[in-house]
Each structure stands twice: as structure tokens, then as C-alpha cells.
């Protein structure tokens, strides 16, 4: 008899220990300890300004781009220190991809949107290999059928939902291990949202996903783990089912049931 549940024996893909973020004097993220499990979708929820996006951006060092931002504590990817001075941030962001709130395809062809990353990372030896990566990524993003006859057309000409899936395909193309999503569906209609959610569920097989969302329903639908942030602190983290049926902390309870002042 194995008394330990299977999920607990999986190693944390990303581990945060006592992570703090300061924007100048403002203490935006306070002493966060959080394990992101491999091949799980982890949803980060909480009211605006709670620190969930700040935490997300710590994972691939997007906060480096913000002046005054200072990150302390430890963040590791498979045990490697993400904030190691020796680490190449461009390489790191190839391992930890990101999808943003608003679809932001490059003003280039659909093909080049996907091919851009593999090209700069030198992932393809010849045109055939590059074609393969592009097709594969579009296929995995569930977009191939819709665009295969117009790969030379501009990515910006696609519908909002298609653009977002193009951005997901672009993130997948460089074979990341973790994909960070910052409210990926907030600009999409319900059908496009459902397609992206279905995609997230499929991607889970090969990637570890962290998603920030303001839609509680979305967190409940797509994630296995949910973390609730409030005023820069991680209040509660648990299996999504438990968080949405029997949250342990009154703040979590108040937030997800719509009792928040």
C-alpha cells in the first residue's frame, strides 16, 4: 500500500521559496512559497493588484524588464536557479514561454510568426525541418486546419481567437517546458475561449502550464491546482476541486463566492 497520493510524489517543475518582489518602495509580492507541479495546469487567481501577474512574470524573469523591480528569494526550474547570474535569459524564456492577455502576433506572415523563434534559436538545420516545426506547432495549437492554405497571409488578419492560438503555437514552437499564460482568454468570445481552454487541456500532456485568470469559472474548468493571492500574499493553494467546493481560508471563500468588499 502506497499511502502517499500519486500527485505528491511528482517533483515540482517550478519551486518558489520566500519570493518577494518590490517595485521601488512597494512590496508587491510577499514571502511566496509555491510548487508548480509538472504537467499540471496551475491557475493563479485573486483580485486586481493581488500579485498574481507579478508572480507569473517572476517565473521567466519578465520583471527584469521593469525598472525599480527587485526580486528576492529563490525560484527554480527543475532545481536550476532561475535568477542565477550565469543564466541566459533568452534561453530561459525559450524553456519558459509566455502567452499574453491580448493576442500579439508579429506583423508578419502566419508562417513567420511560428518560424521566428526556432530560427533565432537555431533549432532547424534546413527548410524542411523548419517547415516541420511550423506545421507541428500549428497542429498542436489546433490551428493548422484553419490556416494551412494561407500560411503566407499576415498573422494580424486572423480573428482574435485564431490570433491567440497563433501566439500559443508560437510559444510551443521553441519547445518550452513551461508555458505561462496571463489572462489568455480575456479578449476572446466564449467559443474562442472554449477552443483555447480545450487546447490548454491538451497541452498539459507535454507542458507545464501556469495561467492567470480573472474568470473563476475558467480556473475551475482548466486547472488541476489553484492558488489564491491577496494583497501580495499567497493565501491558499490546493487542488482546484477542493478550492471550489471547500476552501479552507475565509478570504478564499469570500473571493470565489463573490463576497469580497
Amino acid at each position: 500500500m502506497n499511502a502517499i497520493p500519486v500527485t505528491d510524489t511528482r517533483l515540482a517543475k517550478v519551486a518558489a521559496r520566500d519570493v518577494n518582489v518590490y517595485y521601488g518602495q512597494k512590496h508587491a509580492l510577499k514571502h511566496v512559497d509555491l510548487d508548480i507541479r509538472a504537467n499540471d495546469v496551475t491557475a493563479l487567481i485573486g483580485p486586481s493588484g493581488c500579485g498574481k501577474s507579478t508572480f507569473l512574470r517572476c517565473i521567466n524573469r519578465m520583471n527584469d524588464l521593469i525598472e525599480n523591480a527587485q526580486v528576492t528569494g529563490s525560484l527554480t526550474l527543475d532545481g536550476d536557479n532561475i535568477y542565477d547570474k550565469a543564466i541566459d535569459v533568452v534561453q530561459l524564456r525559450a524553456r519558459i514561454g509566455m502567452v499574453f492577455q491580448k493576442p500579439n502576433p508579429f506583423p508578419k506572415s502566419i508562417y513567420d510568426n511560428i518560424a521566428y523563434g526556432p530560427r533565432i534559436h537555431g533549432m532547424a538545420r534546413d527548410q524542411t525541418e523548419l517547415d516541420e516545426i511550423v506545421m507541428n506547432s500549428l497542429e498542436k495549437a489546433g490551428l493548422l486546419g484553419e490556416v494551412k492554405d494561407r500560411l503566407e497571409e499576415s498573422g494580424t488578419g486572423l480573428s482574435g481567437g485564431q490570433q491567440q492560438r497563433l501566439c500559443i503555437a508560437r510559444a510551443i514552437a521553441v519547445a518550452p517546458e513551461v508555458i505561462l499564460m496571463d489572462e489568455p482568454c480575456s479578449a476572446l468570445d466564449p467559443i474562442a475561449t472554449a477552443k483555447v481552454e480545450e487546447l490548454i487541456d491538451e497541452l498539459r500532456e507535454n507542458f507545464t502550464i501556469v495561467i492567470v485568470t480573472h474568470s473563476m469559472q475558467q480556473a475551475a474548468r482548466v486547472s488541476q491546482r489553484t492558488a489564491f493571492f491577496h494583497l501580495g500574499e499567497l493565501v491558499e493553494v490546493g487542488d482546484t476541486e477542493q478550492i471550489f467546493t471547500n476552501p479552507q481560508h475565509p478570504l478564499t471563500q469570500g473571493y470565489i463566492t463573490g463576497r469580497f468588499g
Binding site: 469559472q217 476552501p247 463566492t257
Partner: protein, 230 residues
């Protein structure tokens, strides 16, 4: 707990508690009237209890419609979800309680055509214990009192023990005077119905615990003697 940002949601949840409270009160009243019909040999009252069962059914239907509406429109989670699911479950328990009360009333109509038999008082004795338990669990629901719910849950053993004793008493009575067999058989079914009402009160206690705490009541419920089946 503090209020929802959307006030109409609070009103809807309060309305749901309200219907359950009304339904509970109605089931209690039906049960009390059935017992009075039995003890006073009042056939008019018994007939009113039988007819009144449809009102409880209507309330159960109302709870069903209202909970489905809340689930569809509010997409409740956490304590709100448990509140709504609990209301749905408790309404079916109360509907069953009222059914058993109606059945007791029906049998008392039959008994009124026969000479009175002595064990009626023992059946009423069991019924009063169950009435107390039913009242306690309905109060506990209104007050969201988990401790009281657990006490009700533990009292089911008393009901089972008393029922077993009553069963033996009725058999003895029938053996002593076979002319009472028909009347005592009806009493035996009544006792069974009353014992079942106690079981439904226990079920409500379990649901109430889930509603308030979010987990099932821990541990095995103490079980009283079971009826000899030979």
C-alpha cells in the same frame, strides 16, 4: 459570513432556506397531526393529513425548480454550492418524512374500524422521540448548528433500540391474543414508518454537516440492535 456583492444572490439563498424551513414545518405538522389522529381515533383529521401530503410535494417541486435555476444562473461555488445542493437533498428527505406521516394517517383510518389495542401508546412513545429528533434537526438547519446535528445523528441509536423493543412487544401481544393481529400488524408498519422518519432526520444531519463544514461526519454511526429477522 459577510454578504455577496450582488445582493439579489443573498436574497435568493435566503429564499431557499426559507422554503426548506416552511417544508420542514409542514412535515412536522403533518407528522404531529397523524399521531393525534392515531391517539384520538380521529378519522377526519387522518383524512386531512392524507390529503395534505400534496402540499409538501408541491414545495419539494418548488425547491427543485429554484435550485436548478440558481445552479444555472449563479454558478455557485464553495459554501454557496453546498447550501444549494444541501437544500435539494434536504427537500427530498422532508418529502419522504411527510409521506411516512401520511402513511401513518392512512393506517390509523383502518385502525379506527377496529377495537382499540393497547400497544398504540408504545407506538406513540416511539413517535414522540422521533418528533423531538425531527424538531432538533430542523432547528439545527435554521441555526446552521453542526454540534446539534451531530447530537441528532448519534440519537438514531435510541430510536433503533426503542423500535426493536416495540417489535417484540407487538409480537408478544399478538401471540397472547390473535384477534389483535390485524390491528397490531398495522401498528408494526406504523412503527417502521416512524423509525424511517428518524433515519431521514439522520440523513439531514449528515447533509447539514456537509453544508457547514464541507466534509462528511466522521466515524461510524453507532447502530442499535437490529430487529430479529427469524
Amino acid at each position: 459570513m459577510s454578504d455577496h456583492t450582488v445582493k439579489s444572490y443573498d436574497e435568493e439563498l435566503a429564499h431557499l432556506t426559507n422554503i426548506i424551513a416552511r417544508m420542514g414545518g409542514m412535515a412536522e405538522a403533518q407528522f404531529a397531526a397523524a399521531l393525534q389522529a392515531l391517539s384520538k381515533r380521529d378519522s377526519d383529521l387522518a383524512a386531512r393529513v392524507v390529503a395534505g401530503d400534496t402540499r409538501v410535494d408541491e414545495l419539494e417541486h418548488e425547491v427543485q425548480q429554484f435550485t436548478v435555476r440558481l445552479l444555472a444562473l449563479r454558478q455557485p461555488v464553495a459554501s454557496d454550492l453546498r447550501h444549494i445542493v444541501a437544500a435539494l437533498k434536504i427537500s427530498s428527505e422532508l418529502e419522504r418524512v411527510a409521506d411516512y406521516a401520511a402513511n401513518v394517517a392512512k393506517r390509523s383510518l383502518v385502525l379506527n374500524h377496529m377495537p382499540p389495542v393497547k400497544p398504540v401508546s408504545a407506538v406513540l412513545h416511539l413517535a414522540h422521540l422521533v418528533q423531538e429528533i425531527l424538531k432538533d434537526i430542523l432547528d439545527a438547519y435554521i441555526e446552521r448548528d453542526v454540534d446539534k446535528a451531530v447530537r441528532v445523528w448519534n440519537r438514531d441509536e435510541e430510536v433503533d433500540d426503542m423500535y426493536t423493543g416495540l417489535f417484540r412487544e407487538l409480537i408478544t401481544y399478538m401471540m397472547e391474543d390473535p384477534r389483535t393481529i390485524t390491528a397490531c400488524t398495522h401498528l408494526m408498519f406504523m412503527a417502521k414508518n416512524i423509525e424511517r422518519i428518524g433515519d431521514h432526520a439522520t440523513n439531514i444531519a449528515e447533509t447539514l454537516h456537509f453544508l457547514v463544514v464541507g466534509t462528511p461526519i466522521k466515524g461510524e454511526r453507532p447502530k442499535g440492535n437490529t430487529v430479529d429477522t427469524e
